[in-house]
Symmetry: C2
Subunit: 310 residues, 2 copies
């Protein structure tokens, strides 16, 4: 199948109006009036971000969702995306069909469409990128640098499932229900929360709670104190026993949001997050670095990469 047949058969049906049926050199998009555009790009590479035999539909959805999570962290609503695919010539057409079915499913779920892309052969491995375009009202983009001393630190969902799921996929721990594995392969980006005027800063937890919290501390010029036993844990993670705390706090790929919220906005936050588990885990304060308190108030000594930067 040549490039044009491939585009017409698999990708043209995914194109929105701005994609011009993928028949032109570029997409033409009317930006939503009075809004700022929010743009982000992420790549997923075979052998680095996914394994060779992984379900192509889940790869497609994770590719979109990692980017959607970045938009969510900025408080932006998604519009559409551009895609690049580099596929080895030996890859069966079924792989592509599965990949496209994943894109289709998440286009419907998140109300986005394909704007354009580029398709190429690769020498060996599969390489994928998605560039997501979203929009936000002027002055309402959530930044990492807006946290204030006294803001409380909140997180959505549960923390550490994805890294445990990766461990399960590597055969290093049991995942009888498959929950942890699913959390690792199909994140649930927190798009659509109306957090402007509530959160002073936000980030998505992609590199691990400690590291991403560290980014907010650095950008905002603040320290953070968090209590390890407040960091929300899923029943499936809790079933692994107490030895996984460090892994949970430093492992990536959860794609939950971490928010800096003034104490007086806690109720507004709960209202904005109806139906989503949210948990207060600590507070920002003057200084730098992160203090991690254990049950007795002692500081954990984390030595993995998520921690080492701070």
């Amino acid at each position: 199948m040549d490039e044009f047949t491939r585009i017409n058969k698999f990708f043209a049906p995914l194109a929105g109006e701005a994609g011009l049926e993928l028949k032109d050199d570029a997409a033409v998009l009317a930006p939503p009036p009075g809004r700022l555009l929010v743009l982000t790009v992420d790549q997923m590479l075979e052998g680095v971000h996914f394994l060779t035999g992984d379900d192509p539909a889940l790869i497609a959805r994770k590719l979109l969702r990692r980017n959607l999570s970045d938009l969510a962290a900025m408080g932006a609503a998604p519009l559409g995306y551009l895609l690049t695919i580099a596929l080895p010539p030996s890859l069966p057409e079924e792989w592509l069909a599965g990949f496209v079915s994943g894109l289709e499913a998440d286009q419907r779920q998140f109300g986005i469409s394909l704007l354009g892309g580029d398709s190429s052969s690769s020498l060996r491995d599969i390489g994928l990128t998605a560039t997501l375009i979203g929009h936000v009202a002027p002055g309402q983009a959530l930044r990492r640098n807006g946290a204030q001393a006294g803001d409380e630190i909140w997180v959505t969902g549960t923390i550490g499932d994805a890294v445990l799921g990766l461990e399960a996929r590597r055969g290093r721990l049991a995942d009888p229900t498959g929950f942890l594995t699913r959390r690792s392969m199909l994140p649930n980006p927190r798009v659509g929360l109306a957090l402007a005027g509530i959160a002073n800063a936000a980030i998505d937890i992609s590199d691990g709670l400690m590291q991403d919290l560290g980014h907010v501390c650095q950008a905002s010029g603040l320290a953070a104190v968090i209590q390890a036993n407040l960091v929300p844990i899923s029943p499936e993670a809790a079933a692994q026993g107490p030895g996984i705390m460090e892994l949970r706090l430093t492992g990536g790929d959860d794609y939950e949001l971490l928010l800096a919220v003034p104490p007086e906005k806690a109720e507004a936050l709960r209202a904005a997050c109806t139906g989503i588990k949210i948990t207060r885990i600590g507070v920002f304060q003057p200084g730098d670095g992160i203090e991690l308190l254990g049950d007795g108030g002692a500081m954990f000594n984390l030595a993995t990469s998520g921690w080492k930067h701070f």
Copy 2:
């Protein structure tokens, strides 16, 4: 060097205002008021689009320029770009420094800035993508589907140099001045031409003259007649002798523009393209397919991939 050090050292200095110093989850861009956005993405892969030892500064510039050429084909002015890089861990830091120097040079030359990106390790090969964002006035985007019967077919620059340059790099022909090789490695995208109201359709010649002309024919529902001896040739290509016609007409990577222009707009076209060589090579007419006329009016019989689709 970890990802954050790499971004701070090499890429943060390239970021424009909308890139937020590359310190957030996404870029925030105020779209130019009253304009449509034009978006395109292209990838360049080691071993597919460039060779392992190629100058990284030229790779960077070609990556941007291929995308800038897509914007030029739509009549759009460039604003900025997002970048992904996947680099094998063994790659020396000098490669990255060279790559960034190329980005820097073309940012200055084309008035664009870095909006965001993603950096990853790769298993083996270098993989690069750029997503370019431009803008155009409503109703002024040049499309492939706007050609009218009777429109004349014009091209910018000279055609076929890049494929000859690739042949030269493979040792298959002589390139004593290096001109053909340079045309292959550093295209000159035709951005900034005010073609709205003059050209009815446009495309950039990236896949070869015959194939890209075929795209305009298909999209516009027309046939084309072109005269082979009118297709503009550089002195360096002409010095290769008469046997290269087929290669020139089907080889890619020239990144010149092909335009559909009504006969009465020829003078306006010349005025819009002051300082740029432009040449009329044929005409659109009712029907489908491309007729290629030789000196005696006979049709060439091209059998390579650029031709086979039409």
